[in-house]
């Protein structure tokens, strides 16, 4: 429920803490700006669009990066732009859940929608993630504090296990906390797989800091559960072992399905990063890191991902849409970003603004723009427009750019 007064949002009930920040958030740019000397000057949307198109036209190897914070309709145009430009298009999963995707491409993904978890999961495992901080509504909507059809007494009916290298807030509300030595996730998951396969006798007294008795107890909790929901975060994806950790977790869950019901899912970050994965996949065949240099869609994470293209100083222009690479990328990448022409399309100034030549503010999806987002479980949601402003949407801005680029390449 969003309350609007005089064209300004004054209250947002029932929005999660993160959503609230977005709604009531920081000041937005009033219009497009272009770097001039050490400062900025205001330019019109027409000028900003034309200059961006000129930048992309001049580029030999443009990079189109970001996409996680915008709606599906804009993401689709982005793919078409990359194709016509023979550029590289990548999204933020290459720096967060990219390893999870690589694991899925090796062993698959036994998953489900969030409602299955809410209505059925009597055992929830959070591994290397801290939802109380990163996904504050997850526990109340779907797990610990959620009433489900088959679990009318939320707190009592469900068991929660948290595994992490240190006790987080989420660890405090767990029935069982598993403290894993940093870098030990792979070993602990392997031990659990062995136990589930009936090989208790080979388990040493302790595995990566976890005592054998606890490992047995967790495995038994799993084997006795009716429905297990396993969630993992960057603590698993980005620690030693990376995608191998995720692969091991998936294989543990697949193994558990021989005994009971078990599902696994990544706790994804940006609200529509999954939308970008979906769009890229139906349009190009691959979820991220796509290179159109040879006309076909080519995918090779580690080569065609944004960080690598930047670190090799290969791209000569960058369009950043709805994300903030300067805040997350290694320094060498950001330095290259500063050296090449860069345009940011984003409602708010962010760390990347400091390295950009132009920034084009747009409407925010779910506030003053409507559009589609994919929830982390794959359910597509219509984000409504609750406020009418003069800001154009990402879809409009990119649509105009694409129309101009198409004129360069008539069929």
């Amino acid at each position: 429920m969003v309350t609007v007064e005089d064209g300004r949002i004054v209250a947002a009930d029932n929005a999660c803490t993160l959503g609230e920040q977005k709604f009531l958030g920081e000041p937005r740019l009033k219009g497009p700006i272009q770097r001039e000397g050490k400062g900025w000057k205001d330019i019109t949307y027409d000028e900003a669009i034309l200059r961006t198109v000129e930048m992309l036209r001049d580029a030999e190897r443009p990079l189109l990066f970001g996409w996680s914070g915008t709606h599906v309709e804009a993401q689709c145009i982005g793919v078409h732009m990359a194709e016509v430009l023979r550029g590289v298009i990548d999204n933020t999963s290459s720096v967060c859940h990219g390893p999870s995707i690589l694991a899925i491409q090796e062993v698959g993904h036994p998953g489900c929608t969030l409602g299955q978890v809410k209505n059925r999961a009597d055992l929830v495992v959070y591994w290397g993630c801290n939802p109380i901080e990163a996904h504050p509504r997850h526990l109340s909507r779907y797990t610990r504090y959620a009433e489900g059809f088959f679990l009318p007494n939320d707190y009592l009916d469900r068991t929660v296990i948290v595994a992490d290298i240190r006790k987080t807030e989420t660890g405090n509300i767990a029935d069982e906390f598993v403290q894993v030595t940093p870098g030990g996730d792979y070993a602990v998951l392997s031990a659990l797989r062995a136990i589930v396969r009936g090989k208790r006798d080979i388990i040493p007294r302790s595995v990566a800091g976890v005592p054998r008795e606890q490992l047995f107890r967790i495995a038994d909790r799993c084997l006795n559960a009716k429905f297990i929901a396993f969630y993992f975060g960057l603590g698993l994806t980005m620690s030693r072992g990376k995608y191998k950790n995720v692969r091991n977790a998936i294989e543990l869950v697949s193994e558990l399905n021989r005994h009971t019901k078990a599902t696994i899912s990544a706790m994804r970050g940006h609200y529509n990063v999954y939308g970008s994965n979906e769009v890229n996949t139906w349009m190009t065949g691959y979820p991220f890191g796509i290179d159109f240099a040879r006309g076909i869609a080519f995918y090779n994470p580690g080569e065609t991902t944004a960080i690598d293209v930047l670190a090799r100083r290969e791209c000569d222009a960058c369009l950043v849409v709805a994300s903030d690479p300067a805040a997350h990328f290694p320094r060498a990448c950001v330095e290259h970003l500063a050296d090449i022409p860069t345009v940011v399309i984003d409602p708010y100034p962010n760390a990347t603004t400091a390295f950009a030549d132009i920034q084009i503010p747009v409407a925010v999806t779910g506030i003053d723009a409507a559009g589609t987002a994919y929830r982390m479980d794959g359910v597509p949601i219509r984000m409504r427009r609750v406020l009418k402003t003069d800001y154009p949407s990402d879809e409009e801005i990119l649509g105009r750019m694409y129309a101009m680029l198409q004129e360069d390449h008539p069929p």
Partner: protein
């Protein structure tokens, strides 16, 4: 006005009763007309075989699980890629191509309408978004009701009207076309890692049987006067001995509709297995087709398997898990709250594998032993049995005993003891192939009246011209020419425009999503049913008001409104 005159077309149009006549076809404004003006663009069909545009009545091309098939399979994406060229965008994929890949390849083969076989209502937006990027065909989506909680509760209460009201509300909300039951009851049981094993097995908690779900849904579908019948993927898919479940299912079906079948059973190849285990696995196509031949109220599609690599994907979650345990390759699963499930695994069908060889033979037996071609349609359950690009080879096999024998000589030698295929002499003719690839589909889907599957004046100008002179080719001997001919049209015409010329797609597309909205009185409007609304908002993770697919997701579309008993 956009007018075309196709001269010297050798037309087969089974619905209009035209069989191999050389004639002209006039097209104006997207429809077939009696005549056109002198300014019309003239296409010389040179006596080539000219058919209504192909229709696939059961394929998996768009939506959550199809896209997950792509997402998890970069190896398949690499196996088929083309660059951006002319009006064609780049494509990737062999067994699960990108949306453009599907659309261009189907169009090159003369297909102008596609029915996505399985759409979970909760994820319908996704299917419609991909439809928008499948530009060269009309699209329809069957909606999954196999594990729908509200439906199962209505079945338990023996309240067919309520079941019909729920179907009606859901179809209109998600812009769906027809009712799909995938392993009815089994997908809900899979929510607990379980399954059902016959049509009389009881679904945990809900205390209904698959047979009761099927029976209620058939009656509900007729109450709503839906264009298409219930479309079923029977229980026990892929298991030795499952033909009994299939026959039990067929025996449930009354004959309730004058214009079409009362039950459409899909990919029946996967449901026509004898034996008690993989070691005595054998064909029961004779028993299945005997039942179909006695029951005009049933239409089946083949679900043909072709040797090679592909990806299996279905809403039948427990079945995919069983397959995973056999193949030990990667496995994905995706259960959908209060509705259904799904699973995906890659497979390789091998000639040297006895079970795979028997499966290949069963699909062909079904088509050859079903007397009436209107009752057995050509599919592979794309991509489950094989990617749709293999259809021309299947046509070749059905038209040529010689080709079947040549292929049979290359498969597992024990196959001959488990199947009857070698003794079947029948060779299908051009007319029967036209029925099995478009006219039969149009009738089975109930879209003849909106101009599909025929070429008489008033019909939609969806036309496929193949480089085949039927008077000069002997399909029995020259099957290779038949296969080549069906692989690529000279012209594919969609809505009166040339969309594909020798495989090159020439226009952007923008075709029609066909959906159904039953007219239901206020008394049966589920949106005003307090119990339904309360449960919905309590147990789904989206609010009921956010569930319907908004108009924004439909580009060009046609809504078929039906007069119902509610």
């Amino acid at each position: 006005m956009n007018e075309i005159l196709i001269k010297n077309a050798c037309v087969i149009d089974p619905i209009s009763g035209i069989n191999g006549e050389i004639m002209d076809i006039a097209v104006s404004d997207g429809r077939i007309v009696e005549e056109v003006g002198s300014g019309a663009e003239v296409i010389d069909a040179e006596g080539f075989l000219t058919l209504p545009g192909g229709i696939d009545s059961h394929t998996h091309i768009c939506g959550t699980k199809v896209n997950f098939g792509r997402y998890m399979s970069p190896e398949d994406m690499r196996a088929g890629r083309t660059p951006r060229r002319g009006r064609m965008h780049s494509t990737s994929g062999y067994s699960v191509p990108t949306t453009y890949g599907n659309s261009y390849r189907y169009s090159g083969m003369g297909y102008t309408a596609l029915l996505e076989g399985a759409m979970a209502p909760l994820e319908a937006r996704h299917t419609h978004e991909e439809f928008a990027y499948t530009p060269l065909q009309d699209t329809m989506a069957n909606v999954l009701f196999d594990g729908n909680w509200a439906i199962m509760e209505a079945v338990r209460e023996k309240d067919t009207k309520r079941a019909a009201a729920i179907v009606g509300w859901t179809l209109a909300a998600v812009k769906g076309f027809g009712v799909k039951l995938t392993n009815p009851g089994g997908t809900e049981a899979w929510g607990w890692g379980k399954n059902v094993s016959s049509i009389t097995d009881v679904v945990p908690y809900f205390e209904v049987t698959p047979g009761e779900i099927i029976d209620t849904m058939i009656r509900a579908t007729e109450m709503l006067a839906l264009p298409h019948s219930v479309h079923i993927h029977c229980n026990n898919l892929g298991l030795p001995g499952n033909y009994r479940t299939t026959l039990d299912t067929f025996d449930l079906v009354p004959d309730l509709n004058r214009k079409r079948q009362t039950l459409y059973a899909t990919h029946v190849q996967f449901h026509a297995y004898g034996g008690t285990s993989w070691s005595d696995f054998c064909s029961k196509a004779e028993e299945i087709t005997r039942s179909v031949n006695e029951k005009p109220q049933i239409v089946i599609d083949m679900g043909q398997v072709m040797f090679g690599k592909t990806t299996t994907m279905t809403a039948d979650g427990p079945m995919e898990f069983n397959l995973y345990r056999l193949h030990h390759n990667k496995w994905s699963n995706h259960d959908v709250e209060l509705e259904t499930g799904s699973g995906i695994i890659p497979v390789l069908y091998r000639r040297k594998n006895l079970v795979n060889s028997i499966m290949w033979a069963i699909g062909l037996e079904l088509a050859l032993l079903t007397k009436n071609p209107w009752q057995c349609l050509l599919t592979t359950d794309n991509p489950n049995g094989a990617p749709f690009v293999r259809y021309p080879e299947i046509i070749g096999l059905l038209m040529s005993r010689k080709y079947r024998e040549a292929e049979f000589a290359t498969i597992h030698p024990d196959t001959e003891h488990r199947v009857s295929l070698p003794s079947i002499e029948r060779e299908l003719d051009w007319q029967e192939i036209a029925v099995m690839t478009r006219a039969g589909q149009a009738r089975a889907l109930g879209i003849v009246d909106i101009g599909k599957g025929r070429l008489a004046p008033g019909a939609e100008a969806d036309i496929a011209i193949y480089p085949l002179k039927i008077g000069e080719v002997d399909p029995g001997r020259e099957y290779e020419r038949v296969i080549e001919g069906f692989r690529q049209t000279e012209y594919t015409i969609k809505r009166g425009r040339i969309v594909s010329r020798r495989g090159e797609c020439l226009v952007w597309g923008n075709n029609t999503t066909i959906w159904v909205k039953p007219k239901i009185s206020e008394r049966y409007d589920m949106a005003q049913d307090p119990a339904f609304v309360e449960k919905f908002d309590r147990y789904y993770t989206v609010r009921m008001r956010n569930y319907p697919v908004q108009e924004e997701y439909l580009k060009r579309n046609l809504c078929i409104e039906t007069e119902t008993e509610l």
